[in-house]
Symmetry: C2
Subunit: 449 residues, 2 copies
Amino acid sequence: MTSSIDPSTSPLLTDLYQLNMVQAYLDRGETGEAVFEFFPRRLPARRGFLLAAGLETALHFIENARFRPDEIAWLEQTGRFRRNLLDFLANYRFTGDVHAIAEGTAVFGEEPMLRVTAPLPQAQLLESRLVNILHYQTVVASKAARMVLAAPGKLLLDFGMRSAHGAEAGLLAARASYIAGFAGTATVLAGLQFGIPVFGTMAHSYILAHDDEMQAFEDFARSRPDNLTLLIDSYDTLAGARKVVALAQKLAADGIVVRGVRIDSGDLIASSKEVRRILDDGGLREVQIFVSGGIDEDVLASMAKAGAPIGGFGIGTNLTVSSDAPTIDCAYKLQEYAGLARRKRSTGKETWPGRKQVWRQFSGEGRMIDDVLSVEGDTQDGTPLVVPVIKAGERLAPPPALETIRQKAATTLAALPEPLRRLDPGFHYPVTPAEPLRQLAEAVDRRGR
Amino acid sequence: MTSSIDPSTSPLLTDLYQLNMVQAYLDRGETGEAVFEFFPRRLPARRGFLLAAGLETALHFIENARFRPDEIAWLEQTGRFRRNLLDFLANYRFTGDVHAIAEGTAVFGEEPMLRVTAPLPQAQLLESRLVNILHYQTVVASKAARMVLAAPGKLLLDFGMRSAHGAEAGLLAARASYIAGFAGTATVLAGLQFGIPVFGTMAHSYILAHDDEMQAFEDFARSRPDNLTLLIDSYDTLAGARKVVALAQKLAADGIVVRGVRIDSGDLIASSKEVRRILDDGGLREVQIFVSGGIDEDVLASMAKAGAPIGGFGIGTNLTVSSDAPTIDCAYKLQEYAGLARRKRSTGKETWPGRKQVWRQFSGEGRMIDDVLSVEGDTQDGTPLVVPVIKAGERLAPPPALETIRQKAATTLAALPEPLRRLDPGFHYPVTPAEPLRQLAEAVDRRGR
């Protein structure tokens, strides 16, 4: 195991066929301008919209991907590749253009979230990892947005690093859910890497390591008095709540304030109500109840409906693997090469050819009405969503702050048509292919390839 | 964005509460010996067994996790932590013991896949990332094993890096599926990092970039003649197959042999039969049909039943996100501290206390019969599965070769009771808690904490 290679930066995190194709392109001098677009083919069940996320991570990768000498040396010793490919890779840096729909925008099936315009070998080389980056963050942001909509005004936190699929997923789930409106994450590295607020108090192991739950509470409070939240369900949740009441006065004498209690098991609606009563009766009206364990958007909605007195939620597995829809059917497809629009016509996987733009119309109140999908040069009513972000290999503007992206997402959620704010929308947001796009597709098909 | 930190090696990829607890432990001198165990709580629906994977990755993390000076400096400037914690982290290296069940072993609910015995702060610190590593690879290996069982004798390849959740998942899915019996992966970095055989030919973009499909086939064949597989479904699968027949003779004259064709869309059973006929009629009986797109273990089983003439399968999304069961309910729990066994009694989340061992009985023919779960010091019939792997911070043996682990997994699959080899087992493999374990749990409960 070569442990010094970071899979999140190595351009060898790609499919072998990309290198095979680039070898073949170089052998034949097929280095003309190619246009690839990344788009979701369709939305998963129960999803009325997707929340685009991952663009800044993707652009960082596009700008910074370089093959290291030891990676080139390894490729060479496999005996699979010729010198022209190895030299191309050793000198590789992206020199093309990128257009994209901003992170935090609602997107729908067939809408081009990102377009790469570059010499064919360069654009081909990016495919696998670009899809890997954009797909996952969009999966998580879209799931998180449902939770945000189901729990208005509640503190939602990402607790899911441990059950995320690998290291980078743990980190990027924090980013994607924060964009969607989560208040923060438990993942420390997301604080360092992205400046996301990091939350966390204690686990059951802390309680279990002590011979007495009350003593554990007090020790922890004295050591970690800031934003103090005590986990009360290790043995008996209601008894735990009563201990918090008993302890709070003693701690208050030393200036330590209990801010919250956490419940992580059992019937969360019933126990939150009982715990609320115990806390209120004990004079701890300001202490918030925080729950975790098996939370998803349906649980959030049922808790809101039941009037559970819960201030915040720690959400793990269901967020970071998007348990009901862990994938979105996405593609990165060649839409134009050497000046000619192209389309794949594989059964059930036909794509719209050419460079595309999405025009979105909004009502006077700022609500989304419908989208039109057409060719780039067309003019349609509404706001064009696909904008240039990299020109000749260089960013056109500094990366937006994460807070700016998060604000954009909040604006998006506020602008959704009412049915799309429901967990079961029962409504297909209209995305209409315009006549010039249909004509281009027909022309490509007539050309027969 | 600090791009220089690799999330797969940074010990800051953890939950904040771990650091909070370690701070509190250090403040109170709670550095006695702790025993944590990692175990699946229960199996997902349709899973009759899990295939343990990820141990070597986990041990590598345990041995090598170090806090970098810039990570310590960042923690310090958050203002959350005191000098004693920062010094502890700066000097941190693991000095404890680890016991584990070997990778490639079948495991069941409540069986301790890994046990950490170390000073409490050390053992606590490992939790989040250990779970992250062991959980994901076990998810993928368990899914892959079902595919291997559903498609005996077929070439199965991991094509799922792009839809895996982030970079590390893409890489580790290759490892976990290879352990389970896949023949290899498309992911190049998995070849470099783990020595896994890497496969790959061409994508639709290669065909689409050419004005003529036949010319694309020929160009590619001349550039990449080794193990040549042509993708024939970009426009019309049967027409594509006929072009391969026409081309094969021409290529043969130059010593280039077509080894396979790939179909990635449409009705794969029907089209594979038609393509087989075209190839056979064209004298290409040796050319294998390889398919991809939406494959999972149920598709594999239905193809086997239909007698589809398919030699191999590229499996993407359904493998790398384990789409029907993207998570397994797992835990890493404190089982003993300072010489006293402990257990959590949270509703629905009770755990067995103490250091545990699993004894597995096999029939004369080597088939698994049942497991007994008991305390470590007990003696039961059968083979004990939990073995020491790290002692006082040092590996007891060099890491086994990946091929050895893969062979172990093959032996495991051959030893499964017959119902567990089915996709819907309808059978719970017996795991019996032994009397000494029950007595320990009762004693812990009587002690009241």
